[in-house]
């Protein structure tokens, strides 16, 4: 197996995730797209770990899974808070700070 087939798969998933983050307006869907991005990074880490024979890549993949879990917890809490105040999860209407 070539290393590149895993790396290119991860790149494709990454770009699909970027499309979801940029184009969708539903807060929960944007969080799912961020999960796609983090997951593609995981594939990269494990592929490099398999190629070099070192275990560090897998350790970092495990750390990344933990970080992703924390991110989803906080992100969904924020989406819930937006839903309470705006009665919608449309991120375009979450503009209290006029950014």
């Amino acid at each position: 197996m070539l290393l590149n087939q895993f790396l290119i798969l991860a790149a494709v998933l990454f770009c699909i995730g970027v499309y979801g983050v940029v184009a969708r307006r539903n807060g929960v869907l944007v969080l799912m797209s961020i999960e796609l991005i983090l997951n593609s990074v995981n594939i990269n880490l494990v592929a490099f770990s398999a190629m070099t024979g070192q275990v560090s890549g897998q350790v970092f993949a495990l750390f990344l899974i933990a970080v992703a879990a924390a991110e989803v917890g906080v992100g969904l809490a924020i989406v819930l808070a937006i839903f309470r105040t705006h009665k919608t999860v449309d991120l375009e209407q979450a503009d209290l700070m006029k950014g």
């Binding site: 197996m1 290393l3 895993f6 940029v22 184009a23 307006r25 750390f63 989803v72 449309d90």
Partner: protein, 182 residues
């Protein structure tokens, strides 16, 4: 752009053993993952998107097994599919509100997203082929011993491990505080 990708993916040395089974498995799982990922970001129904997200994550776990990272694959199934997707479903249920105009993605945002991701994909694929075009994975890919992984976590990466635990604690407390009803 497609031709060099295919050439680099199908190229095999004559003397190297060809791992047909692994490559076929990789192809099937990868196609399934890409299809499901596209369905995730284009689905009208958020619950359907969550279901397709399960397929992407399970496919990633299968790729980890192909790469010999069994412990990461099991963790992926337990944490991502077992916990994160359930959390997503709870989030969808708690925010079940009609979104005005969610039916159609706005055209300018759609174009911006597509342009960004296609350009990014082109750059990434070019860089990967330029950098790792001939790199092969070791032919005798053995499953990694979980003991080695744990030795590494609790040895070289002990400080990072403790930081991750603190981060998880802070995130859990923060999530409770942010989503708590006053």
């Amino acid at each position: 752009m497609i031709a060099p990708v295919l050439a680099s993916l199908t190229e095999q040395n004559a003397d190297a053993p060809v791992y047909v089974a692994q490559n076929v498995a990789f192809g099937i799982i990868a196609a399934l993952m890409v299809f499901s990922a596209i369905k995730v970001v284009t689905a009208k129904n958020v619950v359907h998107a969550a279901s397709f997200l399960v397929m992407v994550l399970a496919g990633a776990a299968a790729q980890f097994i192909l790469l010999g990272a069994e412990f990461v694959a099991v963790t992926q199934v337990m944490v991502y599919i077992g916990a994160i997707v359930v959390l997503f479903l709870f989030g969808i249920m708690l925010t079940k509100a009609p979104m005005k105009g969610e039916e159609r993605v706005r055209r300018d945002k759609w174009l911006a997203g597509l342009g960004t991701s296609v350009v990014l994909l082109g750059v990434l694929v070019y860089a990967l082929i330029d950098g790792f075009g001939r790199s092969k994975l070791p032919a005798d890919l053995q499953p990694t011993d979980t003991g080695v992984v744990s030795d590494s976590i609790y040895g070289s990466y002990l400080l990072a491990f403790e930081a991750i635990s603190l981060l998880l604690l802070a995130a859990a407390v923060g999530a409770i505080v942010v989503s708590k009803r006053d």
